[in-house]
């Protein structure tokens, strides 16, 4: 594996800039990876963390923000975002999606390739990179498809895609059903030295009626709730059996894989087993799978429809335990914007997916940290844990590091969506929920990319 690169070297509007001087005074600074946990004046200068000074001692020539009672974390990195460009710009595009990321405290994201048309050629990558360098509020990396047109039949020109700037590969949205093709991709990975992110789902199990009735495909977790609602279920094993297959193939080919959006207890077990056996495997979980269960679907509200589905409480507990033990490396949102008309239909007909960038840290803080389930430090660390699997250096608050940081108010109470969204879509499964903890400011490589509106007015 090649040496890691800086997240800020991805394409974005601020590339090359360094930002002005900024002091976050008397902030509770927390960076578990760097072993930092204390109250400091964070001095940001020339795009770097210039100093962590004793509280109240730093003097700056630029903006000084009183951050007493607030927290400063390394900014987050989301390895799983759908920017919907090209093809579905009515739902999201590079500009709005990266703005949503900035609002969520992210200093970088990876965009999935299942656009229309899919990102499966070098020219597609080049066009997106240009868009990001013009309109990206935060650095954005683009993945290329593993298979041409996401059809699962033949490999894309992975080397060509990599040379054009693809930072990884994924057929996300769809599994690579064919084991032979999956193996070929893992063999070919040696030429591209880039991770392959996998949406693990065996369609033979998740579409119970088979090809005769694709409309009867599973739309929620299979269990007591699906039995009560009469909705076709997606069994947990539709995910875990594919993970087991691909972990075995990765081991055999000494390849590297990243498993996307773990949802089930059996999946956590499958990844844990593979990790114990030394397989080069990483994985992610989403805030919605960590905070919600299939009980939400009893409302038949299409905002709770996503793939993989919300599962049972014991699956949720397994994900939390996986996060705690390190089996789950990182949190990813699987931010999946959809137009209102795709969701204002009966549950079975509704599009799968929820937005997530703007609520992720607040949801985890409210549901898992304040309730005492997880340590704040662990959540903060996992929020940028998605950088390393794709070869990026996670942000650090150590002096001398590139300054990518989040200013977070742990006491702010707000209602998700009440002030609107930066994203172009509103299909958040947390909309209307009271959350505690809010991103006030996001800094990427020394540049302020987001200020929360009321906070911005407060300091003006």
């Amino acid at each position: 594996m090649s040496p890691t690169r800086a997240i800020s070297s991805l394409d974005w509007r601020g590339a090359g800039g360094r930002g002005g001087e900024l002091v976050l005074a008397r902030a509770g600074v927390l960076d578990p990876r760097a072993g930092i946990d204390g109250t400091y004046d964070v001095v940001i200068r020339d795009g770097e963390i210039a100093a962590l000074a004793d509280p109240g001692t730093a003097e700056g020539s630029g903006e000084v923000i009183d951050a007493e009672g607030k927290r400063v974390f390394p900014a987050f990195f989301d390895p799983h975002v759908h920017l919907r460009e090209p093809g579905d710009e009515d739902e999201e595009d590079v500009e709005t999606g990266t703005r949503a990321a900035a609002a969520g405290g992210y200093c970088g994201l990876l965009a999935m390739a299942n656009t229309s048309p899919p990102v499966d050629s070098a020219s597609d990558i080049l066009a997106l990179r240009e868009r990001a360098s013009e309109d990206g509020s935060v650095p954005a990396g683009f993945l290329g498809c593993v298979t041409r047109g996401l059809k699962g039949r033949e490999l894309t020109e992975m080397v060509d895609l990599r040379d054009a700037g693809a930072v990884g590969f994924s057929d996300d949205g769809l599994p690579i059903a064919n084991a032979r093709l999956m193996r070929r991709a893992l063999q070919y990975q040696r030429l591209v030295d880039a991770n392959i992110a996998l949406h693990e789902e065996d369609h033979d199990l998740s579409r119970p009626a088979g090809a005769h009735a694709p409309h009867l495909g599973g739309v929620m977790h299979e269990g007591a709730v699906s039995a009560a609602l009469g909705l076709a279920g997606v069994p947990s094993v539709a995910e875990s059996t594919m993970i087991a297959r691909d972990a075995a193939l990765a081991a055999y080919e000494d390849a590297r894989i990243h498993v996307q959006h773990l949802s089930a207890q059996e999946s956590v077990e499958a990844v844990a087993t593979a990790k114990e056996a030394g397989v080069r495997i990483t994985c992610e979980a989403t805030p919605h799978h960590l905070a919600l269960t299939d009980e939400e679907v009893r409302s038949l509200d299409s905002r709770f429809k996503m793939n993989p589905p919300l599962r049972s409480e014991h699956d949720r507990q397994a994900l939390i335990e996986g996060l705690r033990s390190g089996v789950i490396d990182c949190i990813a949102t699987d931010h999946a914007p959809h137009a209102a008309e795709e969701k204002e239909v009966p549950f079975e007909e509704a599009a799968m997916g929820v937005t997530g960038l703007e609520t992720a840290v607040a949801v985890l803080h409210t549901e898992l940290v304040l309730s005492g389930v997880l340590e704040l430090g662990l959540v903060v660390e996992r929020m940028s844990g998605g950088a390393a699997p794709f070869g990026f250096e996670p942000p650090s608050l150590a002096v001398g590091s590139e300054a990518s940081a989040v200013l977070f108010d742990p006491d702010a109470e707000w209602e998700a969506g009440a002030d609107g969204w930066e994203s172009r879509s509103e299909n958040s499964c947390f909309a209307g929920r009271k959350l505690r903890g809010r991103v006030l400011m996001t800094v990427v490589a020394g540049q302020v990319v987001y200020r929360q509106r009321s906070f911005a007015m407060g300091v003006a």
Binding site: G210, A213, E222, V225, S226, A227, L229, G230, P235, E348
Partner: protein, 323 residues
């Protein structure tokens, strides 16, 4: 009650009130002029996104017997066929100012959405594989007429439980009325977690069927074979068909219709003395009248429609002129 969306939303007292009201309407059906003015001037829309003979005709006739104006919209040949969304269709039909919308949809939760998007009282006439509450109510009514009470009665529901909205609504309603329910069918057609979800027993064989006071057979569709839920209809029938050998004379037989003769039921039991299948259809009419009455009058007649001191529609003023 504002809507009838799911049995799970009802209390036992709601069901009992509808049963009593239906008994009152049964009397109307014995008159020469089978019509009362209760819902005169009110508009009811029947919106059917799936083919249906008995449910749509039953609701239509129920509305007409209550003197309501009925508009029936079938998906085939309508704007629905032309790709109009449910939300837009409801907005369009809303222009007629309907007091009630009866909806049958292939999708779970469709009736809930209509209730959210419209001012009308909404009746779920079947939403996907989810619920079919009016069927459950008419089945409870039918059984109460035969058995008096369902308390501690043993009811077996046999067949394709996985794909059956009737099974879901009926288990809930029968349980609410105090019956013990067993669902029985091949393991491939019994949903995982159903015992917990619906508070019933599960059996994979008919061995224990003797205990049942009521055998409720479900429709078995031939496409289940193509989807490999069962290896063949022949094998299904051999294991699960209710025939005169399996049905004892003291057991009652029910089926929501339409029946596949020779698949889930043998011909002789359909037409046999245990069969309540025709009675179920008769019950459907009066129970649906009672449902419309309950939702559109709040269980009480409008002041201008009261006949004398009576608060009881079972005795409303008969229409003087034949319609």
């Amino acid at each position: 009650m504002r809507h009838l969306l799911a049995i799970g939303d009802l209390k036992r007292s709601d069901i009992e009130r509808i049963m009593e009201r239906a008994e009152g309407f049964a009397e109307v059906g014995r008159r020469d002029i089978k019509k009362v003015p209760t819902l005169r001037g009110r508009t009811i829309v029947n919106l059917f996104y799936e083919s249906s003979t008995r449910t749509s005709s039953s609701f239509e006739l129920a509305a007409k017997r209550l003197s309501a104006d009925v508009v029936s919209v079938k998906a085939a040949g309508s704007s629905v066929d032309k790709g109009e969304s449910l939300k837009d269709t409801i907005a369009t039909l809303g222009a007629y100012g309907p007091e009630a919308i009866v909806i049958r949809s292939p999708h779970a939760g469709a009736a809930d959405l209509v209730a959210r998007w419209s001012h009308a009282a909404v009746i779920n006439a079947g939403d996907g594989k989810h619920e079919h509450p009016s069927q459950a109510l008419l089945d409870v009514y039918t059984l109460r007429r035969r058995l008096g009470s369902l308390e501690r009665k043993r009811i077996w529901i046999v067949g394709d439980v996985l794909h059956s909205r009737v099974a879901r609504s009926n288990v809930l309603a029968f349980r609410m009325m105090g019956a013990n329910v067993t669902v029985c069918g091949p393991p491939t057609l019994i949903p995982r977690g159903v015992a917990e979800a619906l508070d019933c027993r599960v059996a994979y064989e008919l061995d224990g069927l003797d205990e049942a006071d009521v055998v409720y057979a479900l429709r078995m569709q031939r496409e289940r074979m193509r989807e490999s839920f069962v290896p063949s209809i022949r094998e299904y029938a051999a294991r699960y068909q209710i025939d005169s050998r399996r049905l004892s004379p003291r057991q009652l037989l029910m089926h929501p219709g339409p029946v596949n003769r020779g698949v889930e039921l043998s011909g002789e039991v359909i037409d046999g003395p245990n069969s309540l299948i025709t009675e179920q259809v008769e019950s459907g009419l009066v129970v649906r009248m009672a449902i419309l009455y309950e939702l559109l009058t709040g269980g009480r007649p409008r002041p201008d429609e009261r006949s004398g001191d009576s608060d009881d529609v079972a005795d409303p003023t008969p229409i003087k002129e034949p319609a």
